[in-house]
Symmetry: C2
Subunit: 206 residues, 2 copies
C-alpha cells in the first residue's frame, strides 16, 4: 500500500466520528461537502482522502452512511477489538480506566500497572491494578496490542523498553519525554503542556 500521510489518517478517524453521529440519528446519505463542513475542511480534501483507498460514493448522490462508516472502520483496522494496558495508575491512569469512549470504540483496557504497593490489588472501574513487576509474566501469558504510558518521566523509558521486549508494537505516551523505540514500534505522544504552549503562541500571534 502506498504511503498515506498521517494527516489523512487522522482526518479519516474524524470522518468516522461524524459518520457515527449520522448513523445514530438515522441519516442514510452524506456528501463530501457535509463531512467537510463538519470537520472544518473542504469537500475536495474529503474526496481526496477517500480516493487513496478506493471509491466509495455514488456520483450525483453522495455516500451511504453505513457503508462509508464500514469502509473507514476497515481501513483503520477497527473491524476487531484491541487489548490495552495502562502503565501508571495515578490520576490520569485512573481517569483513563473510567473513560467510556475506549470500550465504546473497541479498545479494551484489560489492566492497569503500578509500583505502589498500596494501589496494587485495587481496582479502578473494575479494571485491576497489578504489580508492574508482573508485566512480562502477564504479557507472556496473553499479549496486548497497545500500551498507554502514564508513568512519571523518569520511569517511562525503562517501562517502554520492557513493553517493547514483551512484544508490544503500539504505544500512546503521556510522559513528557521523547521515547526511543525500534523502527517497528509505533508511538503517538500526547502532551498537554505542548498543546497549551501552542495555544499560548496562537494567542500572542494574532
Amino acid at each position: 500500500m502506498r504511503k498515506i500521510a498521517e494527516s489523512t489518517v487522522r482526518r479519516l478517524s474524524l470522518y468516522l466520528r461524524f459518520l457515527e453521529d449520522f448513523e445514530r440519528q438515522g441519516t442514510e446519505t452524506v456528501s463530501s461537502e457535509a463531512l467537510a463542513t463538519r470537520g472544518g475542511t473542504t469537500s475536495a480534501q474529503v474526496r481526496k482522502d477517500l480516493s487513496f483507498f478506493g471509491s466509495f460514493g455514488k456520483r450525483g448522490f453522495g455516500y451511504s452512511v453505513p457503508e462509508l462508516a464500514g469502509r473507514l472502520r476497515d481501513i483503520l483496522g477497527l473491524e476487531r477489538t484491541y487489548r490495552i494496558v495502562v502503565v501508571g495508575a495515578g490520576n490520569i491512569g485512573a481517569a483513563l480506566a473510567h473513560f467510556r469512549g475506549f470500550e465504546q470504540h473497541g479498545f479494551h483496557v484489560v489492566s492497569l500497572y503500578d509500583c505502589d504497593p498500596k494501589k496494587i490489588g485495587q481496582k479502578r472501574n473494575s479494571i485491576p491494578i497489578r504489580d508492574q513487576r508482573r508485566l512480562e509474566a502477564d504479557l507472556a501469558k496473553e499479549l496486548v496490542d497497545m500500551a498507554i504510558v502514564v508513568t512519571p518521566a523518569g520511569a517511562a523509558q525503562e517501562i517502554v523498553d520492557r513493553l517493547v521486549k514483551a512484544g508490544v508494537k503500539a504505544l500512546l505516551n503521556f510522559a513528557p519525554i521523547q521515547l526511543r523505540v525500534p523502527d517497528d514500534v509505533i508511538v503517538k505522544n500526547v502532551s498537554l503542556v505542548l498543546e497549551l504552549e501552542a495555544l499560548s503562541y496562537g494567542l500572542r500571534n494574532r
Copy 2:
C-alpha cells in the same frame, strides 16, 4: 509576523522541553544536531525552525542553553503565566487538577466547573469546584486566558459558546466533537480515541 506552520510551533515547544532538561543538568551549550537527535528530527530542521524568528546561535559553536530557552519562551509567549479554568470535574477534569506539569510551566488552573450539586463546593488538589452557572459571573470578575473543556459531548458546544461570549480566546477540547467558534478563538483538540485509531491504522499497515 510571517505565518508560521503549526508543525514548527510544536517542534519549538519540544525543543524547549529538551532545553529545560539541559538546563537542569547544567549543560551550557547545545548544537542543532543534539536537539535534532533528541527530538527525532534533523539539524537542518532545527535551524530552519529557529531561523523564522532570528539567529540565536554562534557559528562553529552552537547555542547557549539558557539563552535559547529564553528566546523560545519569548517566542511562545511563555514569559508570563496563564490563568485557566477546567470545565467538567469528572475523572479527566480531576486528573488535570492534580497534574503538576501545568503549574510547573506557568499554566495556573484557578477553578473547576461542574453542574453536579454533589461536587460543587468540593476541591480537587485545593482547586475549588464551582457551579457551572456561575461561569459568566466569575469570568466577568476576573477573565481567564484559556479553558479546558472536558464535559460530555452533548454539553460541550453550549459551554464553549458561553466561554467565548465571556471573552475566552483559547480552548483545549477533550470532548469528541468538532467545536464551532469564531475566527479569533483558537481551539486545539485532544482525542484519545483518535490517537488509538491512528495506532490501529499503523499496526495494520506495516
